[in-house]
């Protein structure tokens, strides 16, 4: 540490301007833009509005809907397995509940299924990498819940549905904001170490698009702290976990129910058959698809597997046209480009300023608005800073935090951010952070109801299939607010666990089948879709171009 030079020479002229304007800006509040201005800004500059980034789906329940090309590529792909090569006669795991995904939603579902009476050894968590390897662990800023005296679930509801451009499913929003209080209480009982004041009340901050200070945090390791407590509790309950074993296809039975999944051991490539009375999808989102070439804040495993598998059995998707770009991804240094710079930095008072040291947007507008304003500043007005690798970015003036809240605030509340940049010679208590939007969240996904049941296009529940967390859509509409995804995974993970526990009391599974995969292949043929792609892809491939172009298959 300390051996890296920090910002290059050519940045300093601009950094000095940021320093010169800082004192004046401390008193300056940038105006909130009008609804009309917002709409125009989004239409002109948000990547979702670029028509060439999308195409219409040619197959499946959402045929005709416009989605990002990278999403369409996977939804229109062949299956990863050949049903004729899989024997369903031999069942490797026969359980009541299979949970696919070991992040916040999966862990929460497992615990609540267990609390609801399903014995630990009748549950199985299957996860692609290690248990807990998920975006949940990387969430920094916080989790929303309306518990302060001047706040209420009603205000939280209005913030969520306004932030989502009124496209959310209102009953899901209601579940989110009501359960929020129950979830924080549950966490308190489990021993999650939230930031608290001397009386024991939570220290809460504003987030983008919230009308009250409602963000509960555990420094800037909020997701890590929640996730590791949930993991500890799952391990204490001795709920079985299969690591490095992602699902590659859902199983159905001859009665048309979802009946488990085919997993693959990533290290030995052996397939495993899991029969389950209820299956919970908790597989997360799609950051690693790098929509429109953007870098991402997401975990290595965020490859949209759950959406692909659910789509093949006829699940309806909602808002898949909508992608969240987090306004403040690191734009420098190259080693950490795209990594998250938490919204909490703005929540604590840091402004966004251009190369001239001037503000151009109120820093706590909703995420899609701020992201669009940054893109406009860099590419429309040419007032960004250009890095040695050709990236552009604007300044997030973090030293303001130390002036507003006192010296030491950053080290105390933004320990992860401070450490992240210090590793590369940048002291964010003294120097601003260069940022540019980064691919952050899958706003849409598998449609669910308030019981976390996955739905067909006609609104009927898919028997035996539940879903929770980022893999689902409808909760956040077209734009998720900060602090609502940690909440989402807990609220709907819990609901999925409780619903699945109720379901398995009466469910019985018939003969297992992969006929839906055969039907899918026939549909591809019928629609005239020709492709070599197979999905789910499970992991991205970042191998260098030289080695990829020279790799040969030697069968070992």
């Amino acid at each position: 540490m300390g051996e890296y030079p920090g910002y290059p020479e050519e940045f300093w002229e601009s950094i000095e301007k940021v320093e010169e304007t800082r004192e004046r800006r401390l008193k300056e509040v940038y105006r909130r833009i009008t609804p009309e201005e917002k709409e125009e800004l989004l239409r002109k500059w948000h990547p979702d509005y670029r028509p060439e980034g999308k195409r219409k789906l040619r197959i499946g329940p959402n045929k005709g809907d416009s989605v990002p090309n990278e999403v369409a590529d996977l939804l229109e792909a062949h299956a990863l397995i050949n049903p004729d090569e899989i024997s369903l006669e031999e069942v490797d795991y026969d359980v009541d509940i299979l949970i696919i995904g070991g992040g916040g939603a999966g862990a929460s579902a497992a615990l609540w299924a267990n609390y609801s009476g399903v014995p630990a050894d009748r549950i199985l968590i299957a996860t692609k990498l290690r248990f807990g390897d998920a975006n949940t662990k990387m969430a920094q800023g916080g989790i929303q819940a309306a518990d302060r005296p001047n706040d209420s679930p009603v205000l939280h509801f209005i913030d969520v549905i306004g932030g989502g451009h009124f496209a959310n499913k209102p009953e899901l929003v209601r579940a989110l904001v009501e359960d929020a209080l129950r979830i924080i209480k549950w966490h308190e009982e489990l021993g999650v170490m939230y930031d608290k004041d001397e009386e024991g009340n939570f220290i809460e901050l504003s987030g983008g698009g919230t009308c009250r200070k409602r963000l509960h945090a555990a420094k800037d390791y909020t997701g890590l702290e929640i996730m590791r407590v949930l993991m500890d509790e799952v391990l204490n309950k001795e709920i079985p976990i299969l690591e490095f074993s992602p699902a590659v296809e859902l199983l159905m039975d001859d009665k048309g129910q979802v009946a488990g999944a085919v997993l693959v051991n990533l290290e030995t490539k052996e397939y495993l058959v899991v029969r389950a009375k209820a299956t919970i999808l908790a597989t997360g989102g799609f950051g690693r698809l790098h929509i429109q070439g953007f870098p991402t804040t997401n975990h290595y495993g965020a490859t949209m597997d759950g959406v692909v598998m659910a789509y093949r059995i006829g699940a309806h998707l909602v808002d898949m046209d909508s992608v969240q770009y987090h306004p403040t991804g690191a734009a420098y240094p190259e080693q950490i480009v795209g990594q998250l710079v938490t919204e909490k930095v703005r929540g604590l008072g840091a402004q966004l300023v251009n190369a001239e040291g001037e503000q151009f947007i109120y820093p706590l507008e909703p995420r899609d608005v701020v992201a669009s304003a940054i893109i406009r500043e860099c590419y429309g007005r040419n007032k960004g800073i250009i890095t040695p690798t050709g990236m552009r970015g604007v300044w997030l003036d973090s030293p303001m935090i130390e002036i507003i809240h006192g010296e030491g605030t950053i080290k105390r509340y933004l320990a992860a951010m401070y450490r992240q940049f210090k590793r590369f010679g940048i002291d964010i208590t003294k120097e601003p952070i260069l940022v540019f939007p980064t691919l952050h969240y899958m706003n849409g996904g598998v449609e669910i109801n308030v019981y976390a049941q996955a739905l067909y296009p006609n609104g009927d529940p898919i028997p035996g299939l539940f879903a929770a967390g980022e893999v689902t859509g409808g909760v956040h509409g077209k734009n998720r607010l900060m602090g609502n995804s940690l909440l989402d995974v807990n609220v709907f993970g819990r609901r999925a666990g409780i619903s699945a526990a109720r379901h398995v009391k009466h469910a019985s599974i018939g003969k297992l089948t992969l006929n839906h995969v055969k039907r899918w292949e026939e549909m591809l043929k019928k629609e005239g879709i020709k492709t070599d792609r197979r999905a789910p892809i499970l992991l991205p491939d970042y191998r260098g171009p030289r080695v990829l172009s020279r790799a040969i298959n030697i069968g070992i």
Binding site: Y4, L129, R130, D133, K137, M138, D147, R148, P153, I158, D159, I161, G162, E171, V177, E178, L181, I184, K185, E188, L190, G191, V192, K196, E198, E199, G200, N201, F202, C211, R212, K219, Y221, E225, V229, L235, N236, F244, E267, G293, P295, H299, Y300, Q335, I336, Q339, L340, I386, T389, G390, A416, R419, Q420, R423, L539, D541, R543, V547, L548, A551
Partner: protein, 237 residues
């Protein structure tokens, strides 16, 4: 605006290469890459030793040495930049059993922690754990605080632990610090930190139906009402 296109519009300076040794095997990689990206650059498609890629998950613990330097260095592959002459290996897994306990039945004191992790008393205060921590946690001091019964202080000291396990592999007393620390943080969070009165009050109001009527109306109100309410919100400073 397409990021990859944006990059190609600017002339790239010629890459300077450095030599690294991956488990003894020599490779040339561009200067400035993290160890993780360097491994991918030379052709590894990782399953183990990779996770969040952002310093939060502890999957990519790595140890390395340089020629003619006795010292064993440690770091996270996703956060450590390659240096010329680096001999490295990832240690993506630590064999360590997590003891099972019922948090509801524990007392927040040193004897609880020691009864679950008796090896804690074997700490010889060598400080190797602290020196190896990529999060710069005062690991040994925290162990000593726990032994003294100061769980509150210890819980805060070890808050930034990402459970990479490097300390536990270096420890001559065979302590599995990250499991110990998890217990200590939970004991603090559950028993020592005060409970929130605000939360309790609001939760009581919710369960008594204080928001029911308004939410019933809101859910069915439709976009025009939501829009009006959203645009007329009073925003707390």
């Amino acid at each position: 605006m397409r990021m990859s296109q944006a990059k190609t519009t600017v002339k790239q300076p010629k890459m300077k290469m450095v030599t690294i040794y991956v488990m003894g095997k020599k490779y040339e990689v561009p200067e400035g890459l993290t160890i993780l990206k360097a491994l991918e650059y030379v052709g590894y498609r990782l399953i183990r030793g990779v996770g969040c890629r952002a310093g939060f998950c502890g999957a990519c613990a790595t140890v390395y040495r340089f020629k003619d330097d006795y010292k064993l260095y440690t770091g996270l592959a996703c956060q450590t930049t390659v240096k010329d002459g680096m001999y490295l290996v990832m240690i993506p897994f630590v064999p360590a059993k997590k003891p099972v306990y019922d948090i509801e039945k524990l007392k927040p004191d040193a004897s609880t922690v020691i009864s679950i992790f008796p090896e804690l008393t074997r700490c010889v205060a060598c400080n190797t754990c602290t020196k190896s921590c990529p999060q710069e946690i005062q690991v040994m001091d925290a162990v000593q605080e726990i032994l003294r019964g100061n769980l509150e202080k210890a819980a805060h000291m070890v808050f930034d632990c990402i459970a990479c396990g490097i300390c536990s592999m270096r420890c001559p007393a065979e302590i599995v610090h990250y499991h110990v620390f998890q217990l200590v943080r939970r004991l603090y969070g559950k028993y020592i930190a005060k409970k929130s009165k605000h939360l309790e009050d609001k939760l009581k109001a919710l369960e008594e139906g204080a928001f029911k009527e308004e939410l019933d109306k809101l859910v069915t109100a439709g976009p025009s009402v939501w829009k009006r309410l959203y645009e007329s919100r009073e925003i707390e400073k």
